[in-house]
């Protein structure tokens, strides 16, 4: 790390400018922070659509990425809060374990894929395969989501303030899906379900944490019909 690559300001925010600091150094700096670090706030400038920005973090730090990123931003995140002021490419917060990832713009395909925990907030739209195979992550999308979202989603909550594309929740396990707008079509074994008080309470908390201005009562819940869990010879054609 060169001395000139890091500009430390009076406010304790460390700035990493990607026009001067290579991606690996940026990520190594962020990944080197421990749970007891005194340096908790970072700003990444000029990401210019780079791939794998702020990946593999494992400390309670706050990282603001000023601009738009490419593939796999904030992948495998643990504990950290990553805030991207622009849009992100495919695979944002893929396999997130904990922490928070906030995208001010849009997210490309498979946002939050396979995520085990934490909260992913997309303030714009997310495209296809949002939350595919999610395993405990909470995802809140302020806009719309694309086709095949929550495919084989196992656990966690996907909240969509806008509309959902084709084949929502295809082959769904136990993830809960909440959509305020229209759903173009439901995937195999995904059905509409009643909103009970515990779902309203869960959704209110998620919307609140995601800074979303929406009432839980406006949403419809979708979940698994659980008919694909066991092989049924009469439904052989459905598999």
């Amino acid at each position: 790390m060169t001395a000139t690559a890091i500009a430390e300001t009076d406010t304790g925010v460390q700035t990493l400018d990607m026009t001067e600091t290579p991606l690996r150094e940026v990520n190594e700096t962020l990944q080197a922070q421990s749970a007891s670090t005194n340096q908790t706030r970072f700003v990444i400038e000029n990401p210019r659509g780079s791939h794998a920005v702020a990946v593999g973090l494992d400390a309670p730090i706050e990282v603001t990425v000023k601009g738009s990123t490419g593939y796999y931003c904030a992948g495998m995140n643990k504990q950290a809060t990553v805030h991207v002021t622009g849009s992100v490419g495919p695979g944002v917060a893929e396999n997130m374990m904990s922490g928070t990832v906030i995208i001010d713009g849009d997210a490309s395909q498979y946002a939050g894929a396979t995520g085990h925990g934490g909260l992913l907030v997309v303030k714009g739209n997310a495209s296809s395969r949002c939350g595919i195979s999610m395993k405990g992550i909470d995802i809140v999308v302020h806009g719309n989501i694309g086709h095949m979202s929550a495919f084989m989603a196992q656990k966690g909550n996907l909240v969509v303030l806008g509309d959902a594309g084709d084949a929502l929740g295809d082959s769904l396990y136990e993830a809960r899906l909440f959509v305020r707008g229209k759903v173009k079509s439901l995937g195999a074994d995904c059905i509409e379900k009643e909103m009970r008080p515990e779902h309203i309470a869960l959704l209110r908390d998620l919307l609140d944490r995601a800074g979303a201005d929406a009432k839980p009562e406006e949403f419809t819940r979708y979940g698994s019909a659980r008919k694909l869990y066991n092989f049924n010879i009469d439904h052989a054609g459905d598999y």
Partner: protein, 295 residues
């Protein structure tokens, strides 16, 4: 994996900078496609027709080519040699005779058109750009491609863009699975692909639909019904360009629009140096949806 870039200028003042802007975009997409690179660039249409030809032995192939072609056609032909390519300007109506003459001399026809020129070669995008001095080229719109080969060999003829009709070209990220069947269908219809490449089949398909009376939008929509496989296509025409992605849409695509231009990229990275990109409208084209811009 391949990289696609496209730029359609709305502000005519930017035309001299088209090559500069497009070259930076193209080089940014190097790690999506290091095998070969190509560009189709659309300038102001002159009178007559431009034929872009390629030769592996340009010095001997292009020596005296303009004089020989002029004599054969009985008309004035001008020639501009650009590395392994030469752009020949021929009179309207001399197309068939000129193509027959050039092919007879063993030259490869890269494309024909009133305003389109195509330059493509094997190699890293920055090397290809330098060979052709792409940065110095001006024009109204252009499409570039960096190829990571899957469906056919790494050769000049396997590089994109593919042109199968005047002023039309196609670039592709993806792979088609029914191209052999389509090749037979198109050959029967009189639009035979010349190479083993799947993208050329798609280009022939679109050209055939346009020849049958479809407009650009209809022809691109037809790819959704008749072509099987993965694709993000960007199609160039004399007046603009069109974009379509297959319904699964796993091949990436992003677009940006300002008052000055419409830009296409496989990734946002390709836009990072464009003027005013911070304030541009940036979005991902929807699956199975045709977009086009024409002047």
């Amino acid at each position: 994996m391949c990289g696609i870039v496209g730029l359609f200028l709305k502000n005519p003042d930017l035309r001299p900078q088209l090559g500069e802007m497009l070259t930076d975009m193209l080089i940014t997409m190097t790690d999506r496609g290091p095998d070969s690179a190509g560009i189709a660039i659309y300038g102001d249409g002159d009178d007559g027709l431009k034929v872009t030809v390629q030769s592996d032995t340009p010095q001997e192939s292009f020596d005296g080519l303009d004089a020989a072609l002029s004599a054969a056609l009985g008309a004035d032909v001008t020639m501009r040699v650009v590395d392994t390519h030469a752009v020949l300007s021929i009179p309207d109506g001399a197309r068939d005779a000129a193509v027959a003459f050039l092919e007879d001399r063993g030259l490869r026809i890269m494309g024909l058109g009133a305003s389109m020129e195509i330059f493509k070669e094997v190699g890293l995008p920055h090397e290809v750009a330098a060979r052709f001095d792409l940065r110095a080229m001006g024009g109204s719109h252009g499409i570039g491609h960096t190829r990571m080969a899957t469906e056919s060999a790494v050769t000049t003829l396997g590089a994109h863009p593919f042109s199968t009709a005047e002023d039309q070209c196609l670039v592709h990220n993806g792979s088609l699975s029914n191209h052999n069947q389509m090749r037979r269908v198109l050959t029967q219809k009189g639009f035979p692909p010349k190479t083993e490449n799947d993208t050329e089949v798609a280009a022939c398909y679109i050209s055939s639909r346009i020849a049958e009376g479809a407009n650009l939008g209809q022809a691109l929509e037809g790819t959704l019904d008749d072509l099987d496989g993965f694709f993000t296509f960007v199609m160039g025409t004399k007046n603009g360009f069109g974009v379509v992605r297959d319904p699964i849409a796993c091949k990436p695509a992003v677009m940006a629009e300002t008052d000055d231009y419409v830009a296409f990229g496989s990734e946002y990275r390709a836009f990072a140096d464009l003027p005013g990109i911070e304030a541009a409208r940036v979005w991902e084209p929807e699956p199975a949806t045709v977009y086009f811009w024409e002047r």
